[in-house]
Symmetry: C2
Subunit: 201 residues, 2 copies
């Protein structure tokens, strides 16, 4: 049953996408298999096109056209070289750019330290980060990491390395997200929001 | 069709509960009506019991047994009289108590300023708040309000009133909630988290 093997492999690939579970992946795979000249063909073309034309920026790790490396964020002369924002992956750069608040440079680690999943320091772009900081222009490193346990561990590790080199390290504020209700907030978020409370006016 | 009128009124009442939409309320009402001796009778009894035995604390606004006013949070001698945490409603007090970080006193406004819904300053417990602060023991007022537009307006209004009286006012930190991913965060939350970033180590 080689045809079903292919279907299973497609489902397994789809299930690796963020937010796609095993069941959804199976449903997607079946829908794609039922219409080989429609969505499947279009998706195949789109994937090939991305593979052929888009690459990861050698400097920050963000997505960039094949013929533009470093990317436009790394080469934009309007941006501030003295502030370096460290993220886990390119999707975080996209989110921060949508927020429109940050005008410095980025560095994507391409992962985080996660001993449970066998991912150590060697799997992420720490050496590149230290080299960039070593160039001497950076006066602040902002850690814009997620807020789970592994990201916390990664943040502590990086903060120590960077502090040894005398570079001030900040981390995004913990607290209440926009549009949230106190009554529905989880205890950890509330405790952190209380600890980080700010003077008004 | 008086019986259907009653059903509609029940659904309308249920739809006023937080998180219950019109459709869910209708489904709940029908389920209750189909089983008058089961859940409906139990719910009726439970509602009556709450109405008979629970009241709002005259001081902070939290829920308390009928014969215990002020409530246990207001009378607990272990708590700190100098810090007053202002919330919108009793459910926020419950959430903050679950967080376990705060050991001062509470004051529930029982609403917020919301001109669009015809709710002004008179509808919330501002006068009571000023009287409590006027007693002279409070050295910090923490505004633990939600993070929507109306709560922001309420916070600004209260901060001004309290600053005039020389009382320092803080507000819970805005930022990333626990367990959140940067790539999935909304722009407003990210912008606020960047603005409020904190030195690490």
């Amino acid at each position: 049953m080689s045809s079903l093997d292919a279907l299973n492999r497609l489902a397994a690939s789809l299930a690796k996408l963020p937010g796609v579970g095993r069941k959804s992946a199976e449903r997607m795979a079946i829908a794609l298999a039922r219409d080989p000249t429609g969505v499947l063909a279009a998706l195949t073309r789109a994937l090939q096109e991305v593979g052929d034309t888009i690459r990861s920026c050698g400097r920050c790790g963000y997505m960039t056209p094949h013929d533009q490396d470093p990317c436009r964020l790394c080469t934009d002369s309007q941006r501030d070289d003295s502030v370096l924002c460290v993220v886990e992956d390119p999707s975080a750069i996209a989110a921060l750019e949508r927020a429109g608040e940050f005008r410095g440079r980025y560095h994507a680690l391409m992962g985080k330290i996660s001993p449970m999943n066998g991912e150590g320091v060697d799997g992420i772009r720490v050496q590149d980060l230290l080299e960039r900081v070593g160039e001497g222009e950076v006066t602040e490193v902002i850690l814009a990491l997620d807020t789970d346990v592994e990201s916390d561990a990664t943040a502590s590790f990086l903060a120590e390395l960077l502090n040894e080199r005398g570079v001030p390290v900040t981390r995004l504020a913990f607290g209440l997200p926009a549009g949230s209700g106190i009554g529905y907030s989880d205890p950890v978020t509330l405790a952190r929001a209380l600890k980080g409370r700010q003077q008004v006016i």
